[in-house]
Symmetry: D2
Subunit: 178 residues, 4 copies
């Protein structure tokens, strides 16, 4: 779901992180990148292709931890830039309220959202991006899908962690659920 | 609160509009234009100076009717462009849900929002604008205020129709109410 | 979608209403009645069986006009009581902001929400009901469905006006879209 | 802001909790208890009187941690019952999305929300309560205030941690900010 190892090292040893992950819910942000037309209608949804926490290659969204001392907005921007590159020009929402809260558990049956490493409570946002996106770090690819394609069986089969449900929640929020 | 006379004429005679206004709630949109920083924090709020429906010169927001057959988004964009000029580059929100619903009544005591001409039910949105704004039509001026200034007594005394309350609702929504 | 004829008669002659409906968007409220458990999770969705505006018998939600001078909340309560009976004990939401805005047009292709009689802009709310519901007026039946059943093909085929989409938007809003 | 020591002990030693609190943001929920009329209008806001994290006696809201493996809803209900007693009958919101996100920091200047013990990211909800409330545990008192009283100088001076701002955000969300 994320790849935040590199940012953690400096401030929390991996072993401590592992201990914490087994005892505390972790604060996360999820971002669904979208293209919008001049009226604000969502026309396309961006999905990354990468190695999921469970080892499979899958379509996924931007997702990552909020660090100690970091504002939620700063974490959201940091993860967007990390995954979409420095020229993406993400438009962070003006309201701090997420459109939904995603609860990831090591047990996939609790909420339907799954992360084998941890219990994460994630604030989910839809983020329009205007600029050039280039997949960075561990992302293998970034592709754009129409709302219809994004909820199609073909794409949903490429998604894990419950992200095939998150995309539908996001599209419902923007009034574009097919 | 608005100046939609010119767009009405072609399709609904003024006398019919007057009759309708006395019998039906009218669908409106309100837009609070804001400047945001790269993190999405609202840094400034834009307010128009113009002649309010009650005849006073006052600070106010973008406000206007949704026409027959018109999408809410299209109305929102139309009124933003009408009041801010063609180069304002308003960023319409991705969700169709307003942050609040403002109910204007000819009786100022019903809801605290007042319009002597009509009962209007208005969908209110916060709209970041990136471009150059130039007051158009009947607006005499457009000024930008920090959140602190926008809720100050000096500015509030220049506002009518309950817009001094609307600005606080908008700032609360974006987490910037001082 | 609604049956508000009887409440209109007293204050707006049918012929005037017909003229207005052909010239102005009409302010509506839609309510999706739900049953919730003690944690606030939606467990069931209520749907009325009745004659839709297009003449077909269909599954639908609570829907109706906001009258001149009426608060949105009062309209929402009135329509809930009209359709669910006086013992339903609807729990109106504390926020005036709807979870989505439904735009009904006489042309079904504009937004996917259809009303042959009019252009209606409807504020949509999810309304938990605790009490005994009894279908009233023109509703033939009220049935409760689990979220899974509510989005099943069998139920969707009984829905018109785009309400098969509205139910999915409502379930997404409450985090229960299957 | 909270008093969750007793629930922590069983599963995370105090010293480990202290270490974690110095390294990770902690997931919290805040609940603003309210009384509503039959139309859903907020008529009163409940505030607890208790010893705040900074040692002062202050007016505050329900606030507490989400535990490892616990759903956000379950945490919200648990903290409501802990602070309001078992007969309060809290009405948890149907949507998992909080109305705002409160970021508490040990440095009061970062966000205006302050907790000397930790960086907490708190999901804030307005929770109507119908039943009998009795302050429990470390709360010294529970009092109900009208929206006007709740934002008065007299009451605001009794609030710490930024909760005088949280009450205004909550009242704005429900359309009752005076």
């Amino acid at each position: 779901m994320t790849n935040d190892t590199e940012t953690d090292v400096a401030w929390l040893p991996e072993e401590d992180m592992a201990v914490t992950r087994s005892r505390m819910p972790i604060v996360y942000v999820d971002a669904v990148p979208v293209r919008v037309d001049s009226n604000g209608n969502v026309t396309e949804v961006g999905m990354l292709l990468r190695v999921a926490p469970d080892g499979n290659i899958s379509r996924t969204f931007i997702s990552g931890r909020v660090l100690y001392g970091e504002r939620v907005r700063d974490a959201l921007l940091r993860h967007c830039e990390k995954d979409l590159g420095p020229l993406a020009l993400p438009r962070l929402p003006v309201s701090p309220a997420p459109f939904t809260v995603v609860e990831y558990f090591p047990d996939p049956d609790i909420s339907g959202f799954y992360d084998p490493r941890q219990h994460a409570v994630s604030l989910a946002y839809v983020v329009p991006v205007d600029g050039e996106c280039q997949p960075t770090q561990k992302a293998l690819d970034l592709s754009w899908f129409s709302p219809q394609e994004a909820v199609s069986d073909a794409v949903r089969q490429q998604m894990t962690s419950g992200h095939d449900r998150l995309i539908r929640l996001a599209l419902a929020h923007v009034g574009q659920l097919p």
